[in-house]
Symmetry: C2
Subunit: 224 residues, 2 copies
DNA sequence: TCCTTTTCTCGTCATCATGACGATAATCCA
DNA sequence: TGGATTATCGTCATGATGACGAGAAAAGGA
């Protein structure tokens, strides 16, 4: 039995919250095609490598860490025959959510790496569409899961968690209602007992991510 | 630049509601590997073919129709190095939802085709996991979209729509509350003006699928 | 024709989640 | 010591939901 030959890549939508907005990790391409243009980080899947393994490897190569507190999940696959001028390449896109923390962004393959606010960025290949799908996935997942904590360090305040929602959704949220929701939804967050020190204002209690897989009831955004 | 060589397939989780339960279309494999075992329908992506096109082609080959009222979306991709003994094969799984209507299920490639209630079925390859992911996707999408109508003919009653929910979720739903919800949620369904005739009981008004992409507010199941 | 059965459709009520917003608590800083 | 700032708790009206009652409109049988 004969069948067409493909190459398979993984591409990463690496998101974080920096400076109060949702940002994505981009690399400047160091080889053809699209040499010199901005693109999502990614690369070919190796001969004996599972898909999630390839995604984690690329993430480690591009960001230096996939540490705890992060999150990695598959978005979708893209296989238009014309999407890569080198030939028939199917890419499996992954979504990674990371806290802002020390992220060197010193790429191995790529000439440069940079955080950029999400939006219409004019990326190489079909990466604008992949980015849009990844961002929408992240926005949607924040509604139904405690995943916003993946953008935060292991211990965080309710206010920090709220600012993640505000950055990802691009909306302002009432702090008092959000506090009630976060602390009353089972499995959303769990208190550590500790509090912040040295910050202005009243000290805030510190929390960790809760054990729930889904929020019940969910935390719906107003926009849609 | 050299890179590993892959084959790419599409596999289909074709779901319908028959006899009050959620059922999946299976085929008995007519060639190695797993000859004679039950599997999801699918096949290799052709050399010049887009992924959704390949999925639609396979669906047409296996079921005879992808007609209006149906729905097709990508689930995810599966690429474990050992998932196919023939070599390195990545499969892109698609979810298809169809009304029960005349579905011949006379396969072209496959020896036999059959509807089976979803569950632990002992399928070939990693198809049990793909099926589980597809079923969970369908269950979840019913909460947030008017997609249940994809299981119904173009015009349907509220009761028929409710029975779709009950079959897919495996729960019983109060007919009066469901009626209120379906008719009061904007874009869920739209009345045709016609009614059923010849059925026992009071005639029911007929509806079409609404234009909304998402249900606001959603229709949440109790289980999770 | 009349009654029963069946199913659809509309209402009622208590409860819960939510948005809007007031008020208090606990820290830092001048 | 007295703001300024931020966290936390409370109140209230509104809307969505689950549980359930009751009427409406057909088919079918005596």
């Amino acid at each position: 039995m004969s069948y067409p030959v493909f190459a398979v890549t993984v591409d990463l939508v690496v998101l974080t919250v920096r400076e109060g907005e949702l940002q994505v990790l981009l690399v400047r391409r160091g080889c053809e095609p699209f040499l010199g243009e901005w693109a999502l980080p990614g690369g070919f899947v190796l001969a004996d490598e599972d898909l999630p393994t390839a995604a984690r490897r690329e993430l480690a190569e591009e960001t230096g860490l996939d540490g705890p507190g992060g999150h990695l999940e598959q978005i979708a696959s893209y296989g238009d025959p014309d999407r890569d001028p080198r030939g028939r390449v199917v890419t499996v896109a992954y979504l990674a959510l990371l806290p802002d923390l020390p992220t060197p962004t010193a790429g191995t393959d790529a000439a440069e790496a940079e955080w950029r606010p999400v939006g219409e960025l004019g990326l190489a290949f079909d990466h604008d569409r992949i980015l849009a799908d990844g961002v929408e996935r992240a926005r949607s997942k924040l509604e139904y899961t405690p995943l916003a904590a993946a953008f935060c360090p292991p211990e965080f305040t309710i206010a920090a968690l709220r600012q993640v929602y505000e950055a990802v959704w691009g909306e302002t949220i009432d702090p008092r209602n959000f506090h009630r929701k976060a602390t009353s939804t089972p499995g959303f967050v769990s208190a550590t007992g500790a509090s912040t020190e040295g910050e202005p204002g009243r000290p805030a209690r510190l929390f960790r991510r809760g054990e729930a897989a889904v929020l019940n009831p969910p935390l719906l955004r107003r926009g849609a």
